[in-house]
């Protein structure tokens, strides 16, 4: 399995193929429904974003609280399609990848191709398993959102599969 050090620049994204299994190490940002709404509102109003989107990776995840002595609780991916309406705007601002579960709509596939980005799928419904790969975490923004707050996770060898590559090849498409 290919090991990938983050951040992921556009040059390396070109070498990733749909269906390929990867192990990611580095920083990823959690963001789901409400955080997406806030991020896109901030972009529209020209406000400063809580983290730099250029070459960043967003993980659609709302973890459970950590037990004492642990970094994080259960932290698998949530359904990506709920973020479809917001994703093209984030890709336009330089976001390089998203990690989630399930299919994406045409507008997202189009934006992935246009901005040379990539969509990863993580093992879904495996939050306990996923927690083993998270080494550190830090609150970045929107603490009022609780589990939906944006957090920076430092992951080591976090397993993902390339779901949609920058050429628009989609391993989930034929299954829909």
């Amino acid at each position: 399995m290919k090991k990938i050090k983050l951040p992921l620049d556009k040059g390396r994204i070109k070498n990733l193929k749909a269906g390929e299994e990867l192990l990611l190490s580095g920083l990823i940002y959690t963001a789901r429904d409400q955080a997406h709404k806030k991020l896109v509102e901030a972009i529209k109003k020209g406000r400063k974003l809580p983290f730099a989107l250029k070459n960043a990776i967003i993980y659609y995840c709302g973890p459970t609280p950590a037990r004492k002595g642990r970094v994080i609780g259960s932290c698998g991916p949530t359904t990506s399609s709920r973020m479809d309406d917001f994703t093209p705007a984030l890709l336009r601002c330089g976001l390089s990848a998203m990690i989630g579960k399930g299919s994406r709509d045409e507008s997202v596939v189009g934006a992935i191709k246009k901005y040379k980005a990539v969509y990863f799928i993580a093992f879904s419904g495996c939050g306990a398993f996923a927690s083993r790969f998270v080494k550190k975490r830090k609150l970045v923004a929107y603490p009022e959102l609780g589990t939906e707050a944006i957090q920076a996770l430092e992951v080591r060898d976090f397993p993902v599969i390339v779901g949609i590559d920058c050429y628009g090849r989609n391993i989930l498409e034929r299954k829909k």
Partner: protein, 287 residues
């Protein structure tokens, strides 16, 4: 009249919500193990292997199987010779949910205001209470993840609809869920009653064991056989959709189809489908 202290119910619920979220149901685990052994598609087999590993980690580390610790749905079968004292039943249940979720490090996933999405909380639970014969209280907790709840559908068929139309509808709901809701799925189906009752039956069907017949208590043998066949037919068709574990293909799209039915009106035929992800969680205690 048997006196039951509400505190007993509160404590039971607090323990059940944690158990359900951390220990995968035995029947689900057994089906996943069989699916793992039988699966030939390399990627599908790998995914099923990770699902089994995930269940083991969850149990050993006392960490939820899934980060979506669900909307707590509580089913109570209350013996009519029981008198609950000390607190209202619903208050005791919600207190139990709150304590269990908090102490078990489960997630706050409920917004008090569905439109403005404000005030994130652990409660209220969805509570379905049924009066039954006897002196016992049976409490079942089913924390329902919303990735799969979002894929639920209901259709009001004409009374003259063919069985094939009903089957097509059920299969289409699963096709629509595709890879989004964590396959392999368990499909709960409610047939008959009213619109609301069919939806409840579909949810209740998920509480039934998936390792044997869902409606073993139904007294009419012929009806059981018919329903068994319908469940088997649907399972077979769904598993030909080639969605597979995580949506990567393979023959394990669905672990089981459970149907519950009820008499309905001459003018209609409600059919509800409630999909569960592979992490179908529930736990029961009889007090």
């Amino acid at each position: 009249m048997r006196q039951v202290n509400a505190k007993l119910i509160e404590d039971a619920v607090a323990a059940l919500v944690v158990e359900a979220n951390i220990v995968l149901r035995k029947d689900v685990l057994a089906k996943l193990s069989i699916a793992y052994k039988k699966e030939r598609n390399r990627m599908a087999k790998k995914v099923l292997g990770i699902l089994l590993e995930n269940a083991k980690i969850a149990k050993n580390d006392k960490i939820p199987i899934c980060q979506d610790t669900g909307f707590p749905v509580v089913f109570v079968e209350l013996g009519q010779d029981v008198h609950i004292k000390g607190a209202e039943l619903n208050v005791a249940i919600n207190r139990g949910v709150l304590i269990g979720y908090k102490n078990g490090f489960l997630r706050k996933s409920i917004v008090s205001d569905p439109i403005n999405r404000k005030a994130l909380k652990y409660t209220p639970a969805i509570i379905h209470t049924e009066l039954v014969r006897g002196r016992k209280v049976k409490v079942s907790v089913l924390p329902k993840g919303f990735g799969c709840e979002n894929k639920a559908k209901i259709a009001m068929f004409n009374p003259t609809a063919k069985l094939s139309e009903i089957k097509d509808f059920i299969v289409d709901v699963v096709r629509g869920a595709g890879s989004d809701a964590c396959p392999p799925y368990i499909v709960g189906v409610g047939i008959g009653g009213t619109q609301d009752y069919a939806a409840l039956l579909a949810k209740k069907a998920l509480l039934c064991p998936i390792s044997r017949r869902a409606m073993v208590w139904q007294p009419i043998a012929k009806a059981i056989a018919k329903q068994s066949k319908l469940e088997a037919d649907l399972l077979n068709r769904i598993n030909k959709l080639n969605i597979g574990p995580m949506g990567l293909g393979g023959k394990n799209t669905c672990l089981a189809v459970n149907i519950q039915s009820y008499p309905t009106h001459i003018a209609g035929l409600p059919v509800a489908v409630n999909i569960s992800c592979h992490a179908l969680r529930s736990a029961t205690k009889i007090i």
